[in-house]
């Protein structure tokens, strides 16, 4: 199995979008310091979709929020296109586990909040068109002016997806975006997400607990070891062609091999 390190040597640096080197995170606790992550190395190529799986509490959210700039880096480096990140910014779109929409705003206004920030020069009509385009893409053409608090969980998360894509980030960070949804809605939203992604090809890092979701969505599945001092344990490249269809993926022989590999890792 190739490790992330030696692949990286063979890649020229301008193919790498996101790079984590020797990342370390320590949380101070009343009983002394707790080392969540240590010596964590990971790179993500441009236009790559990776998923992260690992046991609960191993530090996935911690890692993702560090990439988002919402959580301080104890040691090591996170860089995007070669330059270190400084705090949060709209070059990284985040889709949170809970939709985190402003409930007092309409779907449109929620998406607009980010678009206004990123395209301050365009006129109002152009910005509205961007919002409408993405809201249409996630299947909310009829709910532009509904208050977020009046939308169902699934619809709210659709708005969350639209909001993240509409600011055209370089990297998309998703923390169990469908974890709170029932399995039917989850399948629908996976399709919505992957459809937009196929068009926009924004480098994406997604945390999931769902092995099937990981295989269906990603180019590589990154497995994290259990904490403390979690690092990358194993990486499984998923070789299915894109665009993928759920039916074809499920029918493919390799699917069960991949699945076995992942479950094997998680059970040990």
């Amino acid at each position: 199995m190739e490790t992330s390190q030696n692949i990286q040597e063979t890649l020229s640096s301008n193919e790498i979008m996101l790079n984590l080197t020797d990342l370390k995170k320590v949380y101070p606790t009343p009983n002394g310091d707790y080392v969540v992550l240590e010596d964590l190395n990971l790179y993500v190529k441009k236009e790559e979709f990776i998923t992260i799986i690992g046991h609960s509490g191993c530090g996935k959210t911690t890692m993702l929020s560090m990439i988002a700039g919402l959580n301080e880096i104890t040691d090591g480096k996170i860089s995007i296109l070669g330059s270190s990140i400084k705090g949060p910014g709209p070059d990284r779109g985040v889709i949170f586990q809970s939709p985190s929409l402003m409930p007092w705003m309409t779907a449109m206004e929620n998406v607009m909040l980010g678009v206004n920030k990123v395209f301050p020069h365009g006129n109002k009509k152009e910005r509205e068109d961007i919002c409408k385009y993405y809201l249409n893409k996630v299947g909310l053409s009829g709910a532009f002016h509904k208050k977020a608090s009046e939308l169902s969980q699934g619809m709210q998360q659709r708005v969350g997806i639209a909001r993240a894509f509409a600011i055209k980030p370089k990297v998309l960070l998703l923390d169990e975006p469908f974890g709170m949804l029932d399995s039917l809605t989850r399948g629908e939203l996976q399709d919505v997400l992957i459809e937009i992604w196929n068009k926009e090809k924004i480098t994406a890092v997604m945390i999931t607990h769902d092995v099937d979701e990981a295989i269906f969505m990603s180019d590589r599945v990154v497995m994290m070891t259990s904490g403390p001092s979690a690092k990358i344990g194993d990486i499984l490249p998923i070789e299915f062609e894109r665009p993928r269809s759920r039916k074809k993926v499920l029918a493919h022989n390799d699917y069960y091999e991949y699945r076995k590999h992942l479950i094997n890792f998680l059970e040990h």
Partner: protein
Amino acid sequence: MKDSLLRAFRFLGLGFLEPVVRLAAGEDSKKNVIQIFKKVLAPIASMILFLGIWYTGSKSLYNKEANYAIEKTRSERGDAESEKTRDCIASGDVSCQPNTLPSPKQVWNSFQLLLEDHRQISANKEAFIVKTSALNKKRLEQGKDPIVYTGRPSFVDQIKTSIKTVFAGFLLAFLFATPIGIIIGLSETLRNSFNWLIQILKPVSPVVWLLLVFMIVKTLTKDSTGDTSYIISFISVGLCSMWATLVNTAVGVSSVDKDYINVAKVLKLGTFQKIFKVILPAALPLIFTGLRITLSVAWMVLIAIELLAQSPGLGSFVWEEFQNGANDSNSKIIVAMFIIGFIGFLLDQIMLTIQKLISFDKGSDV
């Protein structure tokens, strides 16, 4: 039609009439009859019970006072005088009525009298204005102050004054406490540095606030001849009542859901946008709860403050009646008590309605 009527009723806080509307619209009668019983008849029954207890209570207090008076006369001036006293009380003569808790009927009569008195005074005032209008015009041309009506204010005038004072105080509290609460809420350093002051000042009694305001306003208005008691009382009301708004605003602003803050951070919103688009809307429900408490506290302390500051209003009405000790003073005080309670309830309903209108969280009914 029915649905919009129901919505309107619920909006106005008259939700208990819902089953009556439903029954009138010919809906499932058995269920609605039970609902009517629960929501309409039961409260009416409790009201009757309340009046009953009040009536018997006041009657027994009355008898006790009367017997005491009769016995006292007997021991001091003999049987013949005591018989006279008994007859006098029984005849209902005003001069010898026992002074105690008035009965519901007496209170109702006083209420009617107060309204009658108000009509009388309004009529006088109008007549006065008509009479003096020509004269005032002349005085105005000569550069003199017009003559104004200075007669006794009626009960309704007192109510109006009180409401005016409470709104002035509430407005002051609102204009003062919300901005400060927002600023304190935004900065942890400020919050820590002012916390002690807020915690110490919050429990200070209305009386002390009044005295403090009195000290300051008295000096500030040394050379003005106007009536400062009104200014003193509304500032005191504002100071007493603003703490709930201040604390709630600070808490609301400082405890905005972390998710929203993260969204604002990721989108890198500017400070202005972050405050006005994210933090304030998120804190609005708590701010409003604070304002609601402020208004009800303002109304509650107003009466005491008016009473102490000798400024016109319901408070001084109650105090004057108490000192006056006329035969119907007690029942007038009880009338004032009900009016005070009723207006307090109305003010709270108004705030609740506005809160429902602006709240994004339609489900909650705090």
